[in-house]
Amino acid sequence: MDKSCIVNSKSETLDWTSNSRSRISNLQCRIRPILNSGVILLILIASSGYFRVSAQDVRSHTRPAPSTAVDEKQALDLTLTLSQASVRPVQSWVRTAGKIDKAGKILTGYVYPPDANLIKTGQRVRAFPLESKSSMYQARVTRFVPQGSRVMVDVTLASLGREGSSNYIMEIVVDRGEFLSVPNEAIIEEGDKRVVYLQHHPGMYVPQEVHTGVQGELYTQVLHGLNEGDQIVTFGSFFIDSEYKLKSGAQPAAGNDHQHHH
């Protein structure tokens, strides 16, 4: 083996008295092991991303992640809408069917896993009679009885139910807590990743991977990836996503791969 090609933590002592000689020496060092190891190694190296990294210039490596520009007309056409990542209540709405009692006041239904353990007395309920779904009746959970894996729920209406209606759809409002969250429509699912488009500055948007927690009816908890006050795209995010992918060749943006875990 050529000693000038030995790779260790000590400096190699190449004879570089001639520029052309050293360039040839360099080239030999790079090519010889590849040739020796055959075509398979060449394919492996080519697919390893080495050549992709080498192709860029320094500033393209150091420049911030590309962003997608949306001008005012496009924003108007798209009804581009921004929302803030903020700490707000996140609710789940558990839906089930219920039958009203003879007095027309108490609905009884069953909730099954995984929602069964979310039910508590005092929770607000919206009840809709099947015969008139546009009529909404306010109610509250007044009793729940675990029965194996399911829970039997009694819901008491604030006023008498609809005359002639015995079956209702019940929507039990479960407060999951106050979390840093974003509207559900802001989140684009890409395989097992979730991405939102963050406003870098007015008219410019960058993709940001987020890790989510509780997914509520309207809002989804963001565990990390965003700060309170960040402006994110809700309506129009699919347009920006497709623009971004077209222009960037779907390369991941700088700093999107990892975020600080709290």
């Binding site: 790779v7 002592t13 320094v58 490596h61 992640a65």
Partner: protein
């Protein structure tokens, strides 16, 4: 004992007890770095924090988390050792950290995509370059507030100050001129064109249609008499006389010089030429190229230590070494395979180089004399650069 004496004694006791209670109630923040020169600061792009490594023990003694999506770019200690500052490229903010407790004390909005920064020699002004905002944010380090934004620049990458602090010079990577700033008024005074820009017809169309490779930095000589500015597209170094702010000489170097780096002894300057993978060594006395030597691809930095120059070839995994007495190549150090080297700082003794290696989240410590190295891992995610207070090689890319 009279009543008045008793009263005074009681008051004194109460004051002592009260004072003690107040001391207990307000515990002092823990001092994590007692001596600001004892640590290497590491800016971690993807974990969005600055980590502090003790130079002697090579242990991380503290970290300052800046916030999600901040992407800090460059870190620097203020000249008085009181604060550590960094610009968050994605957050469009500057972050000020207490250098002793490592607590984040202030977040200041800047213009778009802050990257490189500099302090005035007296430490009063922190100039934060915003390449996408084409501006510089001026931050007053006494009040820790932004007092002004200087517009009219073109992708400003690096700012340097004259030793007397009267003027600052801005390298515009998106142009072929150096901006001169009157530091007293924080205003752009003048644009110094480094060399004649060839007509469109003479330009390589590929190059012309691509991004500009202009001026990264106007680096002052040790005595402050001249500034040297390399222009990437033009392949030249312009020598600026700051007394008249005029180019007094243009030196041709290799193609696409990334920027210029000054040797610590004030004798030479080096441009890594990414166009043909060479370096040009300029003799600062004669203002001529003394040597052109082979190097590697995608060079991002040059450090000087133990009478040698260490040139970082970011994508090859090699650091190229040159003897600065003979001006000849002295070998190369293989740091790893399929890794990305970023930038480095040199300790104040000119003995060790601390090189950020982003792909394995580590800092490589190179012994300049023996050219051996060791790696310190888990410094943070995607370390981007390092900094030591008073080092002569504090730069970023």
């Amino acid at each position: 004992m009279s009543r008045s004496t008793l009263f005074i004694a009681a008051c004194t006791l109460a004051a002592i007890v009260g004072g003690a209670a107040a001391t207990v109630a307000l515990p002092a923040a823990e001092v994590k770095v007692a001596d600001p020169t004892s640590v290497v600061m590491i800016v971690n792009r993807d974990s969005n924090d600055i980590s502090f490594m003790d130079i002697k023990t090579k242990k991380i003694v503290g970290r300052t988390f800046l916030g999600n999506n901040v992407n800090p770019h460059m870190v620097m200690m203020s000249p008085d050792g009181r604060y550590v500052v960094t610009g968050g490229t994605r957050a469009n903010k500057a972050y000020i950290i207490d250098a002793r407790t490592l607590e984040l004390v202030k977040i200041i909005p800047t213009d778009i995509a802050p990257e490189h920064l500099a302090f005035s020699p007296d430490g009063r002004w922190y100039y934060q370059g915003n390449p996408e905002g084409d501006s510089i944010s001026v931050i007053d380090m006494l009040s820790l507030t932004k007092i002004k934004t200087i517009p009219g620049l073109k992708e400003p990458l690096n700012v340097t100050f004259l030793p007397d602090g009267s003027k600052a010079y801005v390298g515009n990577y998106g142009a072929h001129w150096v901006g001169v700033i009157d530091v007293r008024r924080h205003e752009l005074l003048k644009k110094i064109q480094i060399a004649g820009v060839p007509g469109v017809a003479k330009l390589d169309p590929d190059r012309y249609l691509a991004e500009l490779h202009g001026i990264n930095i106007a680096a002052p000589t040790n005595d402050g008499k001249y500034l040297y500015a390399a222009d990437g597209d033009l392949g030249v170094v312009g020598v600026i006389d700051p007394r008249e702010d005029k180019v007094v000489k243009v030196i041709r170097v290799g193609p696409d010089p990334w920027r210029i780096y000054m040797s610590h002894d004030g004798k030479y300057a080096i441009t890594p030429n990414n166009g043909d993978e060479t370096i040009s060594i300029i003799d600062l006395n004669s203002q001529k190229v003394a040597a052109t030597l082979e190097a590697g691809p995608n060079m991002t930095g040059v450090n000087f230590a133990a009478g040698k120059a260490f040139v970082i070839s970011s994508t090859s995994g090699f650091v190229y070494v040159y003897n600065m007495q003979t001006l000849k190549p002295a070998g190369r150090i293989k740091i790893g395979t399929n890794i990305q080297l970023e930038t480095a700082t040199t300790d104040t003794a000119d003995q060790k180089i601390y090189l950020a290696e982003s792909t394995t989240h580590s800092v490589v410590i190179i012994d300049a004399k023996t050219e051996t190295f060791e790696k310190v891992g888990n410094v943070g995610l995607f370390p981007w650069g390092t900094h030591i207070m008073d080092s002569k090689d504090n730069y970023c890319h």
